[in-house]
Symmetry: C2
Subunit: 226 residues, 2 copies
C-alpha cells in the first residue's frame, strides 16, 4: 500500500485498490479512450489512478510498458479458439471479426497499437502464436505466414476505423450534380443494405474477398510445394 497517494483520499472513501499492472492497464485504456493517444502521459495516468507518478514505476517500466499492457487488454478480446478446432480459413473469419470488434471498441488504440512494437505484450504474442501455429500446421509455407497474417490484420484495422466513422460519411448531399455516379451509387447502397450498417457490409465484402483470394493462394503454394 506504500504507493497509494493517501492525502488524495477523502475521509470515509473506500480504500483505493492496491495498484497492479492490470489495474494500471485498465486505467490507461480508459484514459486513452477519453483523451486520445496524443494526450496520454504517465503523469495523467497517475492522476487518474490517484497515485504519485513514481508509484506507477513499481509495476510498469514506463509509458511503453503501459502501452504493452493496454495492447494485452485489447487483444484478450480477440478470439483465436477456432484455430484449435477449425480449418485455418474458417478460423480466420472468426479471428478477424472478433479482432475488429475489439479495436473498434477503443478507437484511439487502432492507430496507436498498429504502429508500435509488440515488445512486452506477451499475451498478444501468444495470441499470434496460436494463429501462426495453426497456419503452419495447415501447410502454409513458413515464410508466407506473417505477410498473410499482417495483410488480414491491416484489413481488420482499416475496417475498425471505418466502423467508428459516421454511417453517412460519404453523403453527397448538395453536390450530387458534381458527382452523379457517386451519388447514384450512394443511393443504391442504402437501398441494397436496408438495416445493415454500411461499415459491416464493407467489412464482410472485403473479408470474404480476401479469404477467397488467400484460399486460392494457399492452393497454389501448396500445389507448387507438393
Amino acid at each position: 500500500m506504500a504507493e497509494i497517494d493517501r492525502p488524495a483520499r477523502r475521509v470515509g472513501r473506500p480504500r483505493t485498490a492496491v495498484l497492479t499492472r492490470d489495474l494500471i492497464a485498465h486505467a490507461a485504456l480508459r484514459l486513452l479512450d477519453e483523451s486520445g493517444a496524443d494526450g496520454f502521459t504517465m503523469a495523467r495516468l497517475a492522476q487518474a489512478l490517484r497515485v504519485r507518478p513514481s508509484a506507477l514505476y513499481n509495476h510498469v517500466e514506463g509509458k511503453e510498458d503501459v502501452i504493452a499492457a493496454v495492447r494485452e487488454l485489447v487483444s484478450d478480446r480477440i478470439d483465436v479458439s477456432a484455430f484449435q478446432t477449425e480449418p485455418w480459413d474458417t478460423a480466420m473469419f472468426v479471428w478477424a471479426r472478433s479482432y475488429r470488434v475489439a479495436f473498434a471498441a477503443h478507437p484511439p488504440t487502432i492507430a496507436l497499437l498498429a504502429t508500435l512494437p509488440l515488445t512486452g505484450a506477451l499475451r498478444t504474442m501468444r495470441m499470434y502464436e496460436v494463429v501462426v501455429a495453426a497456419m503452419v500446421r495447415a501447410g502454409w509455407p513458413e515464410g508466407d505466414v506473417l505477410p498473410t497474417l499482417v495483410a488480414v490484420e491491416s484489413f481488420v484495422l482499416g475496417s475498425a476505423l471505418d466502423a467508428i466513422a459516421p454511417a453517412d460519411m460519404f453523403d453527397p448531399s448538395g453536390v450530387e450534380e458534381e458527382v452523379p455516379a457517386f451519388a447514384s451509387a450512394y443511393g443504391a447502397r442504402s437501398a441494397a443494405l436496408g438495416e445493415v450498417a454500411p461499415a459491416d457490409a464493407a467489412f464482410e465484402t472485403g473479408l470474404q474477398a480476401m479469404l477467397d483470394g488467400l484460399r486460392a493462394r494457399f492452393a497454389r503454394l501448396t500445389a507448387a510445394a507438393g
Copy 2:
C-alpha cells in the same frame, strides 16, 4: 492583405504570402504531421501562419472545413487515371498503391480522415466519382460499388498504418521460447523477403488476394445478372 499579422513580421523579412484556402490547407497538413491530430486547433493553425485566428475565417468555415481542405490535398496524390484506360481490377491496383503512399506520407491523417465525413472535400468526391463511374461501366451492380470500394480502402488505410510501423514491430527477441512457432515464422519471413520491406510484402500479398477475391465476386454477380 488585411488579414496578415503585420506586427509579427520582422523588418526585412519577405512579405507573408496572401492567405488562400490552399495555403491554409498546406499549413494545416504540416501542423498535423508535426503535432498529431489531437493537438490540431484553429488557434495553432493561425499561429503557424502568423495571422490572427479571425483571418482564417475569411477563407475557411472552421476546423471541419480545414480538415476537408487537407483531405483534398492528400487525395490529390491518389492516382485514378488508370480507371479511364484500364479494366477496373487493373486500375484498382494502381489506385490502391498510390492511395497507400499518399496516406503513409502523413501518418496523423490516416485515422483522422478515415473517421470524418467527406463534406466539403469536393476534389476527393471527384476522385471517388472516377472510381465509381468506372466500376458501374464495367458492370458492377450499383448497390455493390461502395461496399467494394470501401473494403479496398479499409485495407489500404490499415496497410498505410502498417507502412509507418517499425519494420521489427513483431520482433520476438527474448521470448522466443514462449512463442516458438511465431519466432520461427518471424525468422522465415526475414529469410524469404531479403531486402523487401515487411509492410510492402504484406500489402502486396493482401492486395493481390483481395483483388483475386473481388474478381471472383464480380464474375458471380455479373453471371447471376446476365
